[in-house]
C-alpha cells in the first residue's frame, strides 16, 4: 500500500487555550453514537464552541472568524489525554486540521494521529507562547510544521525546533504512517510467534 509521505504541513493556525485538553472535550461522548467516522468534523470541540443552554456560539477561538479555515492547531500541555477514542483525531482531521503543535501529547492520541497522517510535534512552552502571540496578533500568519527537519516555521520568519518520536517521524516522512501492509507482510513471523505463545 503506497501512502503519501508527510514531510510538512502548513496553513493558518489557531491556538486553543488550556492544558490537559481531554478527548471528551475534543469530541463529547454523545457524538460517538455512530458506526462510521464520517460527519464527526462538525462536532469537534462542540461543547466549548456552543453554549449548552442557549445553543449560541461561545467566544471559543474556533468560533472566531479570524481563525476560520485554520489547519494547524496549537495547544498546551498533555493535549489529547483521557479516552483512547480515535474519534478525537478523526474529528479534528475532518474539521480540517492537518497538524498539531503542543507542549506535550497524551500517548494514545499521539499514536492515533500519526496513523491518520496528522503530525503532532512538541514545542517548548516558550515557543508555544510565541506562536500563540504571533497568530493572535496576525491570524493570516502561515505556520508550517516541517516534519522532515523537525522545525516549525512561520510566514513572519519564526523558525523553532520541535520534537517528535523518531518512529513517528520516520513513519510519516517515509509514507508508512499506516502500518497495516507491513504488519500483514510479516505473516510467517506472526504465526511463528503465535506458536511459541502457549496460550494462543
Amino acid at each position: 500500500m503506497a501512502l503519501d509521505p508527510v514531510t510538512q504541513v502548513s496553513g493558518r493556525a489557531v491556538f486553543i487555550p488550556g492544558n490537559d485538553i481531554d478527548t471528551d472535550r475534543i469530541i463529547p461522548a454523545r457524538f460517538m453514537k455512530c458506526v462510521t467516522f464520517d460527519g464527526l468534523g462538525e462536532f469537534a470541540f462542540y461543547d466549548v464552541r456552543f453554549d449548552s443552554n442557549t445553543g449560541e456560539k461561545t467566544n471559543h477561538p474556533l468560533n472566531d472568524p479570524r481563525f476560520a479555515g485554520a489547519s494547524i492547531l496549537v495547544a498546551g500541555v498533555n493535549f489529547g489525554c483521557g479516552s483512547s477514542r480515535e474519534h478525537a483525531p478523526q474529528s479534528l482531521k475532518k474539521y480540517g486540521f492537518t497538524g498539531v503543535i503542543a507542549e506535550s501529547f497524551a500517548e494514545i492520541f499521539f499514536g492515533n494521529s500519526t496513523t491518520l497522517a496528522m503530525p503532532c510535534v512538541i514545542a517548548t512552552a516558550a515557543d508555544v507562547a510565541t506562536l500563540r502571540s504571533l497568530i493572535e496578533n496576525d491570524a493570516t500568519t502561515t505556520v508550517t510544521i516541517d516534519v522532515e527537519n523537525l522545525r516549525v516555521r512561520t510566514s513572519c520568519g519564526l523558525s523553532v525546533p520541535v520534537s517528535m518520536a523518531d518512529s513517528a517521524r520516520e513513519a510519516l516522512v517515509s509514507g508508512r504512517w499506516d502500518p497495516i501492509q507491513e504488519l500483514l507482510d510479516n505473516d510467517a513471523a506472526i504465526h511463528a510467534r503465535a506458536r511459541e505463545l502457549y496460550y494462543v
Binding site: S84, F105, N112, D166, I190, R193, A194
Partner: protein, 474 residues
C-alpha cells in the same frame, strides 16, 4: 541484571522490528466493545481482510446499553450500534458476550471474571481503561480504532516500548482508606501527565495485600496518571483468582501457574524510575476540579489560585473552580451534591458493593439526591442478588440498575442534567464527562460516595460510618 515484567512480556510478544523502528507486537488477547469497533470492522471490509485469529478476540456491549430495560434501547442510534456489533461478531466469528448470554458487562469487568485476562499476556482494547487488566500481570493498553483494525487483521500492532516506573507503596493504609484513594493519591502526586512515556509497576506491601479487585481499581486509573499501562506482578492471589474460571485451561494448571509467576519482575530488575510512597500518609481522597490530578484529602480545603506557584497553575485552578462553581480556600467537605453514582470499571465489582452494603444499613439517601448503583456485569449483578445486596441498597434509597458503563460517560440514558454535581466512583472528572456539558463530577471511593449520598454533601465516610478497623485489604 534481571528483567521487569514489562520487558519479559514485551520480549515474549515481539514479532519483529518495523522499518520505522517500532516493534511489531503480538496481541494475545483482543477485547472489543460497540463504540470503537464498528469503524474498524468497516475498514477491514473495505480492505477485503479477515480476522486472523478470531478465537483471540472477545466482544461485549457496555457503553451504550441502558441500565433499565437493557435490551430495549429507546435510542435508535444505540440500537444500531448494538446491532452492528452482533453482525460483526457473527460475520467474523468472534466470541460475543451479548445481553442474552448472562455474561455481558463492562469489558474490563468481563475479561477478568471470565478468566480471559491472564498473566504474561498482551491485551489490547479500543478503550483506555484496558490498563485495568494489568492487575493480573498482563501488559494491557488502550488503542485507537485503526489499531483495532490492525489487531483484527494481523493480531499485531506497531508500537514503541515505554519506560517502566516502579511505584512502591509500603506501610499500613489507615481505616477508611481504599484502593481508590491510593490511586487518586498517586495521580495527585505524579500528575495527570506524569506517566507519559511510562508503564507503572505498582509494588510494595499495600499492593501485595490488596485483593485482585482492589488491584484492578488501581491499575484502571493508570491512564488518568498519563501512563500507557499499569500492572501488579502476579502472585498466589492472582492464581487463586483465576483458578477454575471459564477461559482458564485447567489441564495441567500447575504448569500454567508457574509459567504465569515466571513473568513477575526479577528481584534485580532495572526500573527507569522508582517512586516511594508511605501508605500511612494517604487519606480518603476526592477531586475538586476537572482533571483527575485535582485531588485533595477530604479534610483539606479547595485550592486557592492566589497561592499558585506559577501563572499557568493559577489559570488552571481558576478554570477548574469556575467550571466546578466551587469557592477557593473553602472545605470540600460539606459541598452539596445532587447525584451519587456507584459503578464503572473502576469500582463496579462485587467487593465494591459488599463493602458499601456493610455500612449503609439503617441509613437513607438524603432527600433530593438521586443515587444509582450499577453493577459492572451481569455476573456481578447475579452475585449481588444471591447475597441480598440490591435490597440493602434499595432500602437505603439507592436505585439498583442493570449492568453497563452507565453514568461513567453517559452514552446511555443515565446522565447528569444541567450543572448537577455528582459524587462518583468512576474515573474521570473531565468537563461534561457525565453527559451534561455543564455537569460536575467529584471522584472518590464507593464508600465515600455512599456517605455523600446519605449526608447530601461531600462527607468523610470515616465519621458517618465510624470506620475504625483498617480497610479490608484481605
Amino acid at each position: 541484571m534481571g528483567k521487569n515484567l514489562f520487558q519479559k512480556v514485551w520480549d515474549a510478544h515481539t514479532v519483529g522490528i518495523l522499518a520505522d523502528g517500532r516493534t511489531q507486537l503480538f496481541i494475545g488477547t483482543h477485547l472489543i466493545h460497540e463504540v470503537t469497533s464498528p469503524q474498524a470492522f468497516g475498514m477491514l471490509r473495505d480492505l477485503g481482510l479477515k480476522v486472523k485469529f478470531p478465537q483471540r478476540t472477545f466482544a461485549t456491549v457496555d457503553h451504550i446499553v441502558p441500565t433499565i430495560d437493557q435490551d430495549a434501547p429507546q435510542d435508535p442510534l444505540a440500537a444500531e450500534m448494538m446491532q452492528a456489533l452482533r453482525q460483526n461478531a457473527d460475520d467474523f466469528d468472534v466470541t460475543y458476550f451479548d445481553l442474552a448470554s448472562g455474561k455481558q458487562g463492562i469489558v474490563h469487568v468481563v475479561g477478568p471474571e471470565q478468566g480471559i485476562t491472564q498473566p504474561g499476556t498482551t491485551i489490547a482494547c479500543g478503550d483506555s481503561h484496558t490498563a485495568t487488566h494489568g492487575a493480573f500481570g498482563a501488559i494491557a493498553f488502550g488503542i485507537g480504532t485503526t489499531q483495532v483494525r490492525d489487531v483484527l487483521a494481523s493480531q499485531t500492532i506497531a508500537l514503541a516500548p515505554v519506560k517502566v516506573r516502579r511505584i512502591e507503596v509500603n506501610g499500613d493504609l489507615r481505616p477508611g482508606v481504599y484502593a481508590k484513594d491510593v490511586i487518586l493519591h498517586i495521580i495527585r502526586l505524579l500528575g495527570a501527565k506524569g506517566g507519559i512515556g511510562y508503564a507503572y509497576e505498582y509494588a510494595g506491601d499495600v499492593f501485595d495485600r490488596m485483593s485482585m479487585e482492589e488491584r484492578m481499581t488501581v491499575c484502571n486509573m493508570s491512564i488518568e496518571g498519563g501512563a500507557r499501562c499499569g500492572y501488579v506482578n502476579p502472585d498466589a492471589k492472582t492464581i487463586a483468582y483465576l483458578h477454575g474460571r471459564p477461559y482458564v485451561d485447567m489441564t495441567d494448571f500447575n504448569t500454567t501457574a508457574s509459567r504465569w509467576l515466571s513473568f513477575a519482575s526479577d528481584a534485580d530488575a532495572h526500573f527507569d524510575d522508582v517512586v516511594k510512597i508511605n501508605a500511612a500518609e494517604i487519606e480518603p481522597t476526592v477531586t475538586w476540579g476537572i482533571s483527575p490530578d485535582h485531588g485533595i484529602s477530604i479534610s483539606e480545603n479547595i485550592p486557592d489560585p492566589a497561592t499558585a506557584g506559577t501563572l499557568l497553575e493559577k489559570e488552571s485552578i481558576d478554570e477548574a473552580l469556575a467550571y466546578m462553581k466551587l469557592a477557593a480556600g473553602t472545605p470540600i467537605k460539606g459541598v452539596k451534591i445532587d447525584v451519587a453514582f456507584i459503578g464503572s470499571c473502576t469500582n463496579g465489582r462485587i467487593s465494591d458493593f459488599r463493602e458499601v452494603a456493610k455500612y449503609i444499613q439503617g441509613h437513607k439517601v438524603a432527600a433530593g439526591v438521586k443515587a444509582i448503583v450499577v453493577p459492572g456485569s451481569q455476573i456481578v449483578a447475579i452475585q449481588c442478588e444471591q447475597e441480598g445486596l440490591p435490597k440493602i441498597f434499595t432500602d437505603a434509597g439507592f436505585e439498583w440498575r442493570g449492568a453497563g458503563c452507565s453514568m461513567c460517560l453517559a452514552m446511555n440514558p443515565d446522565k447528569l442534567v444541567g450543572d448537577q454535581l455528582c459524587a462518583s466512583s468512576s474515573n474521570r472528572n473531565f468537563k461534561g464527562r457525565q453527559g451534561s456539558p455543564t455537569g460536575r463530577t467529584i471522584l472518590m471511593s464507593p464508600v465515600m460516595v455512599a456517605a455523600a449520598a446519605i449526608n447530601g454533601c461531600i462527607s468523610d465516610a470515616r465519621e458517618l460510618f465510624h470506620l475504625e478497623n483498617p480497610a479490608n485489604v484481605a
